[in-house]
């Protein structure tokens, strides 16, 4: 059974903000299906009683003093921006126009 359909990949690509062509969707659906098939075994290994590990060496309460440290200047922060205006990042329209 196919775990990941072409429609699934199209939806995931939309969530991940990657525009994909039809041919790419087809190819990726096949590849991902094979990969998911190979890694699905993890769901059968660990029982309910096994706790999850999110971090190999957990540290707790890592805070610094609440003081202003070194930061980038506005100029430095905007240096690599694809587009900027009046000291701000500039982007195209945020809302769709009808």
């Amino acid at each position: 059974m196919s775990a990941i359909s072409r429609e699934d990949v199209a939806h995931l690509a939309e969530l991940a903000h990657i525009a994909m062509l039809d041919a790419e969707l087809d190819r990726m659906a096949g590849e991902l299906d094979a990969i998911v098939d190979a890694i699905a075994s993890v769901s059968q290994v660990a029982g309910e009683d096994v706790p999850a590990t999110s971090h190999p060496i957990p540290l707790t309460n890592v805070f610094r003093e609440d003081v202003v440290g070194a930061t980038l200047t506005q100029e430095e922060a905007l240096l690599n921006a694809p587009d900027a205006e009046d000291g701000r990042f500039k982007v195209p329209a945020i809302l769709e126009e009808d």
Partner: protein
Amino acid sequence: MTDIITLSASALAEKLRAGELTSVEAVQAHLDRIAAVDDAEHGVHAFLHVNAEEALAVAAEVDAIRAAGGAEAAALHPLAGVPIAVKDLIVTKGQPTTAGSRMLEGWMSPYDATVIEKIRAAKLPILGKTNLDEFAQGSSTEHSAFGNTRNPWDLTRIPGGSGGGSAAAVAAFEAPLALGTDTGGSIRQPGAVTGTVGAKPTYGAVSRYGAIAMASSLDQIGPVARTVLDSALLQELIGGHDPRDSTSLPETVPALADAARQGAAGDLSGVRVGVIKELQGEGYEAGVQARFDESLELLKARGAQIVEVSCPHFQYALAAYYLIMPSEMSSNLAKFDGVRYGNRVLPTDGNVTIERVMGATRAAGFGDEVKRRIILGTYALSAGYYDAYYGSAQKVRTLIQRDFAAAFERADVLISPTAPTVAFELGAKLDDPLAMYLNDVATIPANLAGVPGISVPGGLSDGLPVGIQFLAPAREDARMYRAAAALEAALEEEWGHPLLADAQDLEQAVAAAKEGAK
């Protein structure tokens, strides 16, 4: 080939201190070597950017301080003046950082990584930035947007990955030292297939601040070198607590170089070396297995006690890794959207809204492997699948940690082949992502558990290097360096020289490749 470039970092440092060589001479010798063998079309192509001017300036500064003598000269770091190459995933001011991706082509970091600050403070001239699979995702450097690196042992073969550039640079004598990053084996597997040394420190032992994040709970910066001692010296330099990395361990750096020197002195009496049953045999090439078995005999001859340990959940490590890593990286790479930095691409038709700009930017900026993993990670994290995939993988991680804990009850260090095969032909596994992923089967468990690992040259199979991996408990990097140095010394005593002395005449091979292409 000049003698300068074949010196180990520690030997070169010694000559600089003794005044037998200047740092400018050392840097220039390496720049000449890069010019001779690193051609992008036909050569090693380890470097994406060569930083000649700055490297020579830093070298001249070190030479001037030495010549002046006095307190400032005495205070120089032992590795001052020894040149180093840096994986292009680590950000550097004044030089481009691309992560091997079109997305960051032309990007200039406004800050230095913590490890770079330390290297600058110690005055190691930075030779340049080395090639890698895009955003460190791959095992061959074939996923670099700027063309693959070639293995100095055979220019038609992969140098490993993702840090193939750093490993190839030291193997090709283009640099005595390099920095790498290791998320699933990206320092150790390239070390194995290029006949060099690569170490992944304990998770948190070296600051990750300024390493472009792939999978934050797995990533680790570490040393790439030709000898175990050089690797230890470099880890001592870059290690230590960093308040800018909330996962950085609070402890001070242990005496790693001393541990390496102790190991090289030869005696392993009382050291229990655990052979991981699950990381050998089926799936491992006969030549790899043979070199591994010989290494065990040598360790035994040096007094080590060989015990077999079983880590039954390691068979699920690859699967868990290919859920955790893409999940974390799909989230980490969300920031590359063409808004604040990186390249922006406009959609070719329809409305130009920010959402469509992001889609077009990421479609054009990312290569196939990165896209594949982002989609896989997005899938593993999506509603309805999270528990079955990401949640289960995190539980497997716990089981793997328990396997390690049980194994380290019975052994002081663990040992396995670093990679199941020697370097394969370029292109051989490009169309089969799963086959490519299997390269990391022996290196991934260390990342999942956060324990340190090192690969040392174990000999040749069909004329190509085989790597031997040592693993130690978390925070016991010194133990790993001691055992690795002992094996290195034993093997070199057998061979009568370092393994890289057996490598082909590279300048001739590159010239032949250029000639053949005409």
